[in-house]
Symmetry: C2
Amino acid sequence: MTRPGMAEARRRALIGAALVEIAERGSLDVTVARIAGRAGVSAALAHHYFGAKEDLILATMRHLLSEFGEAVVADLRRAETPRARLSAIVGGCFGPEQFHRATISAWLTFYAKALSAPGAARLLRVYQRRLHSNLVHALRALVPVPEAHRIAAGIGALIDGVYLREALVGRPTAASAAVAVVEDYLDTQIAGHPR
Amino acid sequence: MTRPGMAEARRRALIGAALVEIAERGSLDVTVARIAGRAGVSAALAHHYFGAKEDLILATMRHLLSEFGEAVVADLRRAETPRARLSAIVGGCFGPEQFHRATISAWLTFYAKALSAPGAARLLRVYQRRLHSNLVHALRALVPVPEAHRIAAGIGALIDGVYLREALVGRPTAASAAVAVVEDYLDTQIAGHPR
DNA sequence: ATTTACTGATTGATGGATCAATCAACTCTC
DNA sequence: GAGAGTTGATTGATCCATCAATCAGTAAAT
């Protein structure tokens, strides 16, 4: 059981357990003991690998963020036209791995944490900037550059808002409805501010 | 100092202190002792008036919510045309009392709490429904009813999203920029789906 | 034998909640 | 109008649970 080379597997397991725990509880009031227990190890081991609890939480956040980034990049690769690229980004945001009750819950929790933890805020800003620049890049082929920035900001806010609302309703909503709201925004904005 | 009739004043003071404390900390990890201290009373008194800490938090939330509702209603009264009513609602959402760093911080905190506290979720849903019905009421004079619902949902999400992003940026942003994003959405949506 | 992986036990701090006791004002006598 | 109860407001002290973090020590692999 204690053979060498377990370190990475344990780290992954702990991050995964933290994610599930946070999502299930819908809050960052999770104990190291519970996370470790879910990962099948002792609380002491979690501290051994991550140091403070805060570091484990941040690592979990980073994991979620990078997973999301990869999903969007993968979708982007399959798109040819600028308009298709926009749809790919939006679709990536609401893909099945992202637009899932537990994941949404975790996202909102991290946002809340960012209010009081500068490290968390920094991570989220990185994600926002990346999304923004992806959107602008695709939009500038369709609308004037200043408009592209404005629309990208709107899309970013709209996506976050849709997530927020999704987190609040008890029952799960179809991702397609969420996508439709954002796509409609895109369509009318592009039509309203032609190049 | 300890004359009868202090109850209401104390309740108000405690709620106000809780609000400031939550906003300043940017989190619900506030202690009863700190809140009470800020209100100039002992922690025991806070328990005396509100029972559990949870109840004090919920009362604070209710306070914020009703304050917001009143601001919107006041703005609505001054509007004549449907379009003006829409602007009034949006303006109310981003009025100086609402769109303030501390208040925004408190809002997001409450949203996060709603993930794990059904009582908080219920309160927020009431606010969302009220906003939605206000928007639909004004919109139905301008666009077909199904569109009105869709646009209202979009506006609601967009407002929440703008708040979310505002909470994250370190520096304070002008409310006018936030209003502009939402107003632009309104304009293009109404123009894009005429009655 | 040394390194790597791991744990149980423990500590120290925090914080919610409770309770018995005080204090000030008001009311009801006689 | 001076005590004698009554009630509401308030607090300090205390209890109890939770939890992050540490540490000393065990077990396995090399």
